[in-house]
Symmetry: C2
Subunit: 215 residues, 2 copies
DNA sequence: GATTATAATGAACAATTGTTCATTATAAAA
DNA sequence: TTTTATAATGAACAATTGTTCATTATAATC
């Protein structure tokens, strides 16, 4: 008789505590590194009891993967938002916008970069991590390749493929991130941007200027 | 009476087993990552008994540090040998030589790069590791800065500091290493070299050509 | 207020970590 | 050959790892 309906109950705090665990995991990675991020460490930070990780996630590994997923989503969202906003603009403006994004404080900040490299350090020996890090990397690379192709079309260079040029630029951005990761204290966002535009101007003098502005 | 002299004995195999442990540690880092490099893993690889790490080194941490030291010495030796060999050459030739070294298979190979990034991943939270990785990085950077200064002196660029140029080049080399680390299967040494020389030629057209040769 | 579904707890678990040290093996010196 | 110094062994250790699950707490429904 009373078997009419048993609806879900008490789901108010569950998603909240789930998110707490993800945040505590990311905090722990920043504080003590992914290597020393134990369940004890995470639960101390989240101020939750010992069984919570295995209640909300199957195991510690799943929690770490969800944290990585949550993290990469942030970058993807801002990256694509920027890309969308310059869809019809000139290639030079596209390049300027995307470089500005990748050197912006909302993406190139201490915590953010640390988390990225901690996860990617484990990606080599962890198939699942590699999936996420490689996907992000591919999108990032494809975007810059595409913009470089447009730049070369607008201003052809003799005997130089747009592929090679894109390769160099992508490599440089990656190097900038590493530079920030290693020396975030002395790293100067403006200097990085300037350096970047020196190289762009050397290759495409009719589309850029050293000062980072467009022609 | 018989207290005349007690000379050291049986020191034949000790250094040999010590080196075995260092090599097994590096092998383990390549195989399973520094995170999963346990004493059990190392000793299995070295085919030595359980107590050996604490006999030859104070503890596991010391062994890892000695392995890092052994590793960085290899790079430093070849790097300085090359640098010494071009001491009196033109800046362009110096640049060509050092880039060739840093993209050469004896330094840019799978095992070598993996070990480097595994250690550097831990360097952020490990003061001692950081000392070694930072020292190597500083030497590397100083060398390229110095060569760039010479290049700019030979061919001044208006409104562009040699510091910025060096910054870009160093950043690109670092990025090439990362690229190799992440995609050693598809990485093409020749393509990397070519890309590098495109940028050098764009900046210093009277000292380089796209083909990687000197003018 | 009583019932019920489930979120949260934390003691207990087996497995693995790095380290210790009494014991054994071995090569050089007496 | 005997003695001696020390290199090597591996069982035993305490500490820490991630996971389990019987118990308790709590909010929605009856």
């Amino acid at each position: 008789m009373s078997k009419v309906k048993r609806k879900p109950k008490r789901l108010v705090n569950k998603p909240l505590n789930r998110q707490k665990l993800i945040q505590a995991t990311l905090d722990s990675i920043v504080d003590v590194g992914i290597e020393n991020t134990s369940v004890t460490e995470i639960l101390d930070k989240a101020k939750l009891s010992r069984g919570m990780i295995n209640l909300h996630f199957d195991n510690k590994e799943s929690l770490l993967l969800e944290a990585l997923k949550f993290y990469t989503d942030i970058y993807n969202q801002t990256f694509y938002k920027q890309l969308e906003s310059v869809k019809t603009a000139s290639p030079a403006f596209k390049m300027q916008t995307m470089v500005a994004h990748d050197l912006d404080i909302c993406v190139l900040n201490r915590d953010y970069v640390v988390i990225w490299y901690e996860f990617r350090g484990k990606a080599r020996t962890n198939e699942l991590y590699r999936q996420y890090t490689d996907t992000r990397y591919k999108r990032f690379r494809d975007t810059y390749y595409s913009i470089c192709t447009e730049l070369v079309k607008a201003e052809p260079l003799q005997g130089v493929s747009s592929k090679s040029i894109a390769h160099g630029l992508i490599t440089m951005i990656e190097g900038m991130w590493i530079d920030f990761y290693l020396h975030s204290d002395s790293f100067k966002r403006s200097a990085a941007k300037k350096t970047f535009f020196i190289y762009l101007t050397a290759l495409f003098p009719s589309q850029f200027t050293h000062k980072g502005a467009l022609k």
